[in-house]
Symmetry: C2
Subunit: 405 residues, 2 copies
């Protein structure tokens, strides 16, 4: 094989870790490696809810790509992918076109709105740095407006979060911490503000241990979060949402609906012609797409079944990072004509934060954690990733060390 | 005279200083003194443009009334004045009604829009704490939105300030300091942002020495402020403004128009039936309203001619504070049957800031100041007021001491 063009699309958890691994294992004489990303920074998707609530500045969440990628070894292209042409071995970008010999697709997720009317137009999503800091500003703006109108508009103080999954719960947890500060800033009576979490399932955090779920709900309710479970969002209007529960429709006035109830793979993947299953590529054991020996798929665009329960692994940072080890190994093996290895997930644990001061989690062997121990565990997980991605320097710069806050 | 009811309307510069003076000179057995104010705080109107630009937090600008007024000596009513009935000696509030024997009207200003279409609906004003922090949030919100739209909307980054008087110039000065920070916060190219000052007169800061005006314009232009002088605002639309200059109409797309080109006295005064001149009460030499021996008018509601040039004194904090000495003296004198004194203005100087780092001013005997000396002078003036109002404690809490910032 001639010196191959390796193109990596997306600098999310999977893409950036694959790049960092490859820049260590392959030299400039072994391959031309190109990383394509919309922004000149990587961000920790799992921290975005804190940026959206305003409890953590977004500059803590994002990492300039040049800080972790060696620009003399990797060709970095800041551009947006518009289409993948697997049969032509080409990728179309907004401003140019790339040819590849080996492609890694790590284009992440987009919001899935399940056809609920008005959601695309009127709801916010915690999707990236831009959309998250907009939520922070939007909430502040409405609080600032409140005392500037003769008729007080309660819709400015009601915040509805659609979805009681990971993101939804972690977001309302941060909001519960943030609201008292905002009320002080804008002279608003705290008791007027409502944080309402609407979830379709009979319980929030489906899949989590019921004891931990109860702990989480108690913790959040004691800080003013209201839960409406078993309720389906029916309509998202500019100044209200409508949900249905027990056959009855309820309308809640709000100017702030945050949709955190579903993600799907980037739709570019489905449009590429690569075989997909509900929008994702069910990859082979070596992380390659079916039918294309030169295309790897990683992170939220990839679907891998958990052999233990026959259901897909959830689209988490943990899985994406683990996949990057296999993908980086296999890209090099493919380029050099060696044998590819299979991917095996190891779920080390799952921790959901409930604001800065509380959390719940399950670690190895189903051990349950809650309270400050879980808070510490969450930070340990985040810090380990930074260490893997950029070494001690990055950890010190962006890590979370104040374990009691 | 029986123990008189003295009612002071408004806790602006004039009202609060009159109250503070009276609580020292009159005891609880001499008079019932009532202060009425919409908020439970006084604020420094001359600092609001900094809150609006986001360069100073509004909590620095406002002072809780209980921190300077002795609540065991003064009856404080937090309410909004809706009408004054001078012939019935009554004041109507939103939630109650007060009778007075002696009244002090210090109800301040409201924006004068000169009938320009759309201004009331679409422009912001630097009127109080609420409206000022809303401007800060509005600008931030538009910067946050900028990268969340496919079609970049330049109107989000254009800030138009109507009026090149004191407030307008001081505001664009602060904006010039603030914009680089905001651009960093929201990843916006600084060169895209426009700050446009539109003034009807042939020059900004009319009445100021031409040499100082030129200094000010150069200082601000070098920091990116654009001036359009000799231009009349014709229309303020939700997403643009139209001005006319040299017979031609120009439309500037903007979502942020701040109207700083005119104030008038609170319209409650005109509606009260007291004789007014362009909305203000041309007070007698002892600060009493014509025709009413029991009503004093102070601050922006009062009109006093400068005998030197036959024109009214400008509505400044300096004049209002000086008036409060005469009003406080005369209220006591009237209650006790002594002779009233006449008011005499002493203009000690005028300083206009051009952001944190620059200023221009004229002090005693027409001495011109600019640069850091004027900056220091401005802070000295502000600090002197705090000392007068609340003593050393207040000065230390709210004063401006960092003279080189």
């Amino acid at each position: 094989m001639k010196k191959p063009n390796i193109v990596i699309l997306g600098a999310g958890y999977g893409g950036i870790m694959t790049t960092v691994k490859l820049q260590k294992s392959m030299g400039v004489n072994d391959a031309n490696i190109t990383l394509v990303n919309k922004n000149d920074y990587h961000y920790q998707t799992t921290w975005l809810h804190e940026n959206a609530a305003g409890t953590l500045h977004h500059d803590r969440t994002r990492i300039p790509i040049k800080d972790v990628v060696n620009m003399s070894k990797i060709n970095f292209v800041q551009d947006t992918v518009t289409a993948i042409k697997p049969d032509e071995k080409k990728v179309k970008l907004e401003n140019s076109e790339l040819s590849y010999d080996i492609l890694v697709i790590g284009l992440g997720f987009e919001a899935a709105t399940f056809g609920i009317p008005g959601l695309i137009e009127n709801a916010f999503t915690i999707g990236d740095i831009n959309s998250s800091r907009l939520i922070r500003e939007h909430i502040e703006y409405n609080f600032a407006m409140y005392h500037n109108e003769k008729e007080k508009n309660q819709a400015r103080l009601n915040i509805v979060v659609g979805g009681g999954g990971f993101t939804g719960i972690e977001f309302v947890g941060e909001l519960a911490n943030r609201i008292p500060e905002l009320c002080k800033e804008y002279d608003i009576d705290k008791s007027l503000v409502r944080i309402i979490n609407v979830e379709g399932a009979p319980t929030v955090l489906p899949g989590f241990d019921p004891q931990l779920v109860e702990y989480a709900m108690n913790s959040l309710e004691s800080r003013g979060v209201e839960f409406v479970t078993g309720a389906m969002l029916k309509d998202c209007k500019p100044d209200s949402i409508v949900y249905e529960k027990d056959g009855k429709q309820v309308e809640v006035p709000t100017l702030t609906t945050v949709w955190a109830a579903g993600v799907r793979a980037n739709s570019i993947v489905e449009k590429s012609g690569i075989e997909t299953n509900r929008g994702k590529v069910e990859v082979r054991n070596d992380m390659r797409a079916p039918g294309y020996d030169d295309i790897f798929v990683i992170g939220d665009c990839a679907l891998i079944m958990n052999p233990e329960n026959g259901r897909p692994y959830p689209p988490t940072a943990q899985i994406a990072i683990q996949e990057s080890y296999t993908v980086a190994h296999n890209v090099k093996a493919l380029a050099e004509g060696h044998e590819l290895e299979g991917f095996e997930a190891k779920i080390l644990g799952t921790v959901a934060s409930l604001g800065h001061t509380d959390a719940i989690g399950v670690v190895l062997n189903d051990r349950k954690l809650f309270g400050w121990k879980a808070t510490v565990m969450k930070k340990v997980i985040d810090n380990r990733y930074l260490l893997k991605l950029g070494g001690l320097g990055l950890l010190l710069k962006k890590g979370k060390f104040n374990i009691f806050y």
